[in-house]
């Protein structure tokens, strides 16, 4: 029997970057194959070529032993290939069924009752929980993902590709998804799952193919391998998985948040009575499902979010004065002498300006300095050079626009600039998202360094393993509420996972709005 899909010598080049270099891969019927690799190793690019979004520069694709040419997503569907993208491609104001039949050419598009019936059949066969008449904007992230999966099953896909499906799910939702995928495997479907989470690979897949920097490293059978072997294949060399964590030295209250309420533009409550303190010399982690109010919380502290109620008190380490930061603009906060650094989630859309070079991005924080109406570029240029050298930023020079840098290097530039401001409070939102292991560890080390210098560090993270290893205390929020505060040294993943979902059930509607 021939493989469901076989790739031979697939190569794809973008400009000067080789995204995939001579990759070979096979997937059999009734098998779950994991594609493992760090961020930027070419996993998604490879899968996009099977799904008809990109066209390979070199190489061949075989389906059931026959060579094929996939030029568009429609071609891919004709070969019964369906891809569930990391970022969902759904129309918000349509119902699940309407989204599922969207783009189909036969009459079913106009017979929604029949279509909804078929959706129910598919759901019950594989154990999905879905209401075909629910609108997408009312759905949680996991429900949206279900719609995407049913969409490709509806089109009769036999080969399913899932791009980082667990990135947005809670541990409980992940388990549910895995159960569904196992059922599909039993039904003879081939499943390719892209991930960089080792424990998921080991829990779910039959075989693992590893990519590293666009190159195909090899394929191993899951039951014959273990975490350290896979890590080694993935990063090419052994990396220490431990993050150092020192005991906080002489912690003092630096930032106090009392009864903080925020509403978004539509008037939905996004933060509900949030209370916590951040202390100098410690890292306070913030855990929660994506979109539970983490962004709003940090932006409220930074003066970028309108606060409906509550107060944010800053304790000045020098004068012992207490300042209320509520209703102050970022400029006013700085004029108070509050040294607050903020690494926002949206690096190129908020933290940096993509089209400007590294020097001009350094200047964002400091351009007002110096007398007169003109800019002084010398100090920022020196800072840019220092950061490039110390943080090993890979760039042709200080005049390269930052959008041309890779994700990890962009983040180094941003974190470097924020740390250079010698903060007393450092907030970082998902600072390692999309970064490879080496860059991630560099960021962890930088945060630890700041902690040891007595900075109050607030770290919003998504990887619970990292939060548990890095943070002194972890604040868990769900649907804009604090659902727990745990000690990073004793907490378990299950405990945090439970806290993350605690209030979601109580206030499902709000959670859906936030998602």
């Amino acid at each position: 029997m021939s493989a469901a899909i076989e790739l031979r010598g697939i190569t794809k080049v973008f400009g000067t970057i080789v995204a995939n270099d001579d990759v070979n891969l096979t997937v059999n019927r009734g098998e779950i194959l994991s594609i493992l690799g760090e961020n930027g190793s070419g996993k998604t690019t490879l899968m996009n070529m099977i799904a008809g979004i990109y066209f390979p520069d070199k190489g061949q694709i075989f389906i059931d032993g026959k060579e094929v040419c996939i030029r568009s997503p429609k071609d891919a569907f004709d070969y019964k290939i369906g891809m569930i993208h990391q970022h969902f491609k759904l129309v918000d104001v349509f119902t699940a069924t309407e989204n599922i039949v969207l783009g189909l050419e036969d009459g079913e598009r106009f017979n929604l009752k029949k279509a909804a019936e078929k959706v129910r059949q598919i759901s019950s066969r594989y154990g999905f929980e879905i209401d075909p008449d629910k609108k997408i904007y009312e759905m949680s992230v996991s429900e949206k993902q279900t719609v995407e999966i049913i969409k490709v099953l509806y089109r009769g896909a036999d080969i399913l590709i899932l791009d980082e499906p667990t990135a947005v799910l809670t541990p409980q939702e992940t388990q549910k998804l895995f159960a569904v995928l196992r059922k599909m495997r039993q039904g003879g479907k081939s499943i390719i799952i892209i991930t960089h989470k080792l424990h998921e690979v080991l829990a779910l897949s039959d075989r693992v193919s590893v990519l590293c920097k666009g190159k195909y490293i090899g394929t191993v059978t899951t039951k014959d391998t273990n975490e350290s072997e896979l890590t080694e294949m993935m990063v090419g060399k052994k990396v220490m998985l431990n993050i150092e964590r020192s005991m906080p030295k002489d912690p003092q209250v630096r930032l106090e948040v009392h009864g903080l309420d925020c509403h978004d533009r539509e008037g939905v409550k996004v933060l509900d009575n949030v209370n916590f303190t951040a202390r100098s010399g410690e890292i306070l982690g913030i855990a929660g499902i994506a979109g539970s109010g983490q962004r709003e919380l940090l932006e409220a502290i930074a003066g970028l979010q309108h606060i409906t109620d509550g107060e944010i008190l800053y304790h000045d380490p020098k004068s012992d004065a207490i300042e209320n930061l509520r209703d102050k603009t970022p400029m006013q906060i700085r004029e108070l002498g509050v040294r607050l650094s903020f690494v926002p989630e949206d690096r190129l859309g908020m933290g940096l300006v993509g089209n400007m070079d590294i020097t001009d991005n350094m200047m964002l924080r400091s351009y007002r300095r110096g007398k007169g109406a003109f800019l002084h570029r010398k100090a920022p240029r020196d800072l840019a050079e220092t950061i490039i050298e110390q943080l090993e930023v890979v760039t042709p020079g200080v005049t390269t626009p930052v959008r041309n840098l890779s994700g990890g290097n962009v983040q180094k530039v941003l974190v470097g600039r924020e740390i250079a401001a010698a903060p007393t409070v450092l907030m970082a939102a998902y600072p390692v998202r999309g970064l490879d292991i080496n860059s991630s560890y560099m960021i962890y080390n930088l945060l630890n360094e700041q902690k040891e210098k007595g900075v109050a560090v607030i770290f919003v993270g998504e990887d619970l393993d990292v939060l548990i290893e890095l943070c002194d205390r972890i604040l868990v929020i769900g649907s804009g509420q604090v659902t727990g505060l745990v000690d990073g040294r004793t907490a378990t993943k299950e405990e945090i996972g439970f806290l993350m979902t605690k209030s979601v059930h109580r206030e499902e509607e709000t959670a859906n709005e936030n998602a």
């Binding site: 400009g15 094929v68 040419c69 400029m331 949206d346 351009y367 800019l375």
Partner: protein, 364 residues
Amino acid sequence: MKMREPLFHIAKRRRMDFWKAWLIRIVAVLFALVVSGLVSYLLTKTNPIEIYQTMWKGSFKNARYIWNLAQGIAILLCVSLAVTPAFKMRFWNIGAEGQALIGGLVAATCMLKLEGAMPSWLLILVMLCGSMLAGAIWGLVPAVFKAKWGTNETLFTLMMNYIAIQIVSYFTYIWAVPAGSGKIGIINQKSQIGWLPALFGQKYLINILVVLAVTVIIFVYLKYSKHGYELSVVGESENTARYIGINVKKVIIRTMILSGALCGLAGFLLVAGTDHTIDSNTVAGRGFTAIMVSWLAKFNPFSMILTSLLIVFLQRGAGQVATDMGLNESFSDIITGIIIFFIIGCEFFINYQIKRTGRREESK
């Protein structure tokens, strides 16, 4: 059945050498000349070389033509420089036409009503300030609405044009000489009060020097001033601007005052320096052409000298072709269109590359 592969694909270029980019642009102009030559031969049976010669003559026939060309460039460049800060801020100011026109109207009004009330040099100064103020107000209004209530500046600035045009039409009717003719005619023709004086015997030299100075000022403003830096940050990402504490509303309003005031200056130069009269067509579409000049030059004030030269050269050449060869204006517009199409189109080849899909020939 084996499906056909796509023949080629398009990829973004990372970077291109400066000289290579200009080589592509020159080749594009050559292509444009060949194609427009072909088109003009097919449509009119005239010798294309002759058409080009006539076009050249339209700009460079003699010294007077060259001064006219320089004057045309100066005014268009001035409006282009005016819209550039706004566009760099991603504020779609398509109201330069009205901002310049209202500036021109104020200048003309001062010339008409203050003749004899003060010496000419003082009048010119008053006209200058008045024109710039009027232009600034015309730019300020949409900016305030955008900053305070988030209104769409494209529609707003566009509609402000029509208000300016109607106001000017109204006054040309009221002040028409002779009454009922619908034309104001040359103002202060005898006394020449409020006219920009000739410098070294060249009546357009002041205009040209003023615009050259503005070019340098805008270049420095955009590149080396804190204001210029702030407006580029606002243009690139409003979120980043808020994040670092820039007062976005203030920057929008400030930049539009500048943009409007420079348009007003262009209006002043038109009325005081060249036309010495006003009607609703005084600005003659330069407010819109300027947008193209500014974008073609990628917001670089010095490149704008070249792009405005190109546009003015084409316009004058086209006019010359129309009169000398008995072809109508529309025909010269066709030629201008072809040339601009090639020039803008070639930017695609500078930013992207087209690759043949280099896969093996044999099928398995």
